[in-house]
């Protein structure tokens, strides 16, 4: 037997041999009976129902499980909040299109609006500018018309070498006129 165990046994023997003495048992009896008589310890049906229903929360493993579940819920909540905040920040960084620019019509109209969006993303600011749908349609029509005419013009130039040479010459002259910044 180790010295540690020997000491342990000796101290235990003293504690086992020394029984605590309860003095004033009469006073305890009187106090308890007094409390019972005062009615402070009447059977409260509500308390009994609650105790019967929820006494299981005093079971150790149930308590531990509840604590674990609460911690997991808090962690999940925190994670969810972080994801929501991240989402909100992403949305903040995006360009917001409001009002008549929002698509509500047919495919053709969508095409026009997409082109309009392309234009705005090339540097045209819409901040503070008020423009009606009709004006936008006019603008898009002009743009389409201009693009068609441009294609026709390019084709005509390509078909006529003399004209092409002339235009290239003129464009070269114009280029030279531009001051070097």
């Amino acid at each position: 037997m180790t010295a540690e165990r020997e000491k342990y046994k000796k101290v235990l023997a003293i504690l086992r041999g020394s029984k605590p003495e309860l003095k004033g048992i009469d006073l305890i009896q009187d106090n308890v009976i007094g409390r019972i008589r005062k009615g402070g310890v009447k059977h409260n049906p509500l308390t009994e129902v609650v105790e019967n229903l929820f006494a299981w929360i005093y079971i150790g493993w149930v308590r531990r499980s509840l604590v674990t579940a609460s911690v997991l819920l808090v962690v999940f909540f925190a994670y969810q909040q972080t994801m929501i905040l991240k989402g909100v920040n992403d949305i903040n960084k995006r360009e917001i299109v409001t009002g008549p620019d929002a698509f509500t019509g047919t495919y053709d109209e969508l095409d026009k609006q997409v082109r309009m969006l392309k234009l705005t993303s090339r540097g045209m600011s819409t901040g503070g500018l008020k423009i009606t749908e009709k004006r936008i349609e006019q603008l898009l029509d002009s743009y389409n018309e201009l693009q068609d005419k441009y294609i026709d013009l390019i084709r005509i130039i390509e078909e006529d070498p003399v004209l092409k040479e002339y235009i290239e010459e003129r464009l070269g002259e114009d280029k030279n006129k531009i001051p070097n910044l």
């Binding site: 504690l15 041999g17 605590p20 309860l22 305890i28």
Partner: protein
Amino acid sequence: MVEQKIIEKCKDGDLQSFRELIESVSPFAFSVAFRVLGDEELAKDIVQDTMVTLWQKLKKINSAGSFKTWLYRIVINKCYDQLRKNKREPGFRPDEKTWELISNHVSERPSSELENEEIARVINLMTGKLSPKQKAVFVLSEIEEMPADEISEITGMSKTLVKSNLYHARKQIGKMLDKYFT
């Protein structure tokens, strides 16, 4: 420990029988509470509260056989509550006088019984560093000499947990004795 007859009378609301019941069971309740808490006055309060709770829940007791376990369970639960309240109070402090007291009693042949105040000092010294559960298991198993099955029923812990708490309590106390008790 208690006769079924007295329990039945108490269940019928006979306060005189309950007075007898208090007289017969209070010393056991006090012994456990005092050894777990290491404080005479607190242990007396626990006994009073336990008796009141006993009166309230007497109807749930089916037999005198289960009465003892039932009583100890109430005492231990009230001790846990008390220990939780005392949580912030300082625990173990090496105490020269108490070690001297232990040495004197160990060297006596046969060793004399300790007074309540002395028991409290020794208990507080021994169990000051233990958790409430370890304290309860140590007292019930090592001092009250109850079997693990009964402790498991009283404390609501599994037998494995009882043994584990007892192991840690023994280890902790053993280490301390080895260090301070010469």
